[in-house]
Structures are given as structure tokens and as C-alpha cells.
Amino acid sequence: MSLVKPAMRGLLAKRLRFHLPIAFGLALVAAVAFKFTVTEPRKQAYADFYKHYDSMKEFSAMREAGVFESVRPTGK
């Protein structure tokens, strides 16, 4: 007949005390993981692509392939 009186108040506060730091931590981890697996490699890929990019060469190649309407391929 000597049962402990259960907690009657502060139940939400107790739950938040436990779960909010975890939630914030996981969100932070997700953001950091995304940054280092997606955005940084992407930025590097673009930097590498444009480091030795010759736009005139690419343009001529595209022109010869005939994809433009403003300029025809050189030749007839």
C-alpha cells in the first residue's frame, strides 16, 4: 500500500529537457554533414571546371555541332 505518487506536473518540461538538446544536436549534425558531403564538393567541382575553361573553344565546338540558331556552322 506504499506506492510512490507519480509525477503530476512538469511532464512536458521534462520531456523537452531531454529531447530538445538531442533534436538541436541532430539538426546541427545533419546540416554539417550536408555541408561537407554536398556543398563543399559541389563548390570544388565548379571551381575545377572553370579553372581551365576555354569558352571560345566550347563555343566553336557547339557551333560546329549545329545547336545554335544565331550562328551557323563555319562552311556552307
Partner: protein, 169 residues
Amino acid sequence: MLATRVFRLVGNRTLSTSICLRGGHGVAKVEDYTLPAYFDRRESPLPDIKFVQQLSPEQKSLKEKEKGSWAALSKEEKIALYRISFKESFAEMDKGTGEWKSVVAGIFFFIGFTGLVVLWQRKYVYGDVPHTFDAEYKQKEVQRMLDMRINPVEGFSAKWDYENNAWKK
């Protein structure tokens, strides 16, 4: 005149109810669903009525014994008293029914049936796909995409080796 007729009816009714208290005519029949009911529910543990309403003679004698000291009751008698008041114990009422198996089986069955319907549709309902799905057309399409340098940094054209005219290894 109508009012007096109504007054007479009302008067008659009050007269008849006072007779009813002795005669029993005119009182509405008590339906079962209007009486307090027994139910097994976790959230309200004490139903309005006991489970067993008509006690057998042994049960009646047990109820008499209950009025004395409870220490004198044996274990079986205590359980019998419990079963008089309640239909299922908490463990029994909380037990799963296994209904989910039928539900999942039904889901799979109807998904399978839908698959058959879709197959029939493909054969008998749909017309031909457009000419843009032909192999040569697709080849020309891919060539044009490569010529236009679609997604040259990380995507489509990035995987094509323009020097050797082949996909990158």
C-alpha cells in the same frame, strides 16, 4: 375552442399518469441500450455495472462470504469474485487481436489485383508510345544534349569524354 380541447387532453394525461403509477399503462418500455452498460476499457477501469447480474446460488453464497474478512477467502474465491464483477482482466483486454495480419494480407491481395488490372490495361487499352521513344530518335536526342553541353559540371555532359567521343570510364 381548440385551446380548451388541448387543455382537456393535457388534463387527461395528468389524470392518466396518476393512474399509471398504479396501473403501469402509458410508461415507456425501458430499452436495453438506455440502461447502464458493462464495458472493458483501459481508460475507465470501473464500469457502471458488474458483469454478472444474475448470480447463481454459489455466487450468492460467495458474495455473502465476501462481507466477512477477506483474509478468509481462498485464492480461487477471490478470482471468482473478480470474474463476477469484471469480464476481462487488463491483460486480457489489452491483448492484441492479430487483426493486423488480415489487414496486411488484404493490402497485398488488392495491390496484386491492381497489378493484374494494370497489365490488362497496357495490353488492351493503351495505344502506341510516341515516335520520340524510338531507338534512333533517342540516340539523336542524346547526341544533341551532348552537343549543347547539358550539365557540363556535375551532370550529363560531365560524364562524356569529348576527346575520345565516348562515355567516361
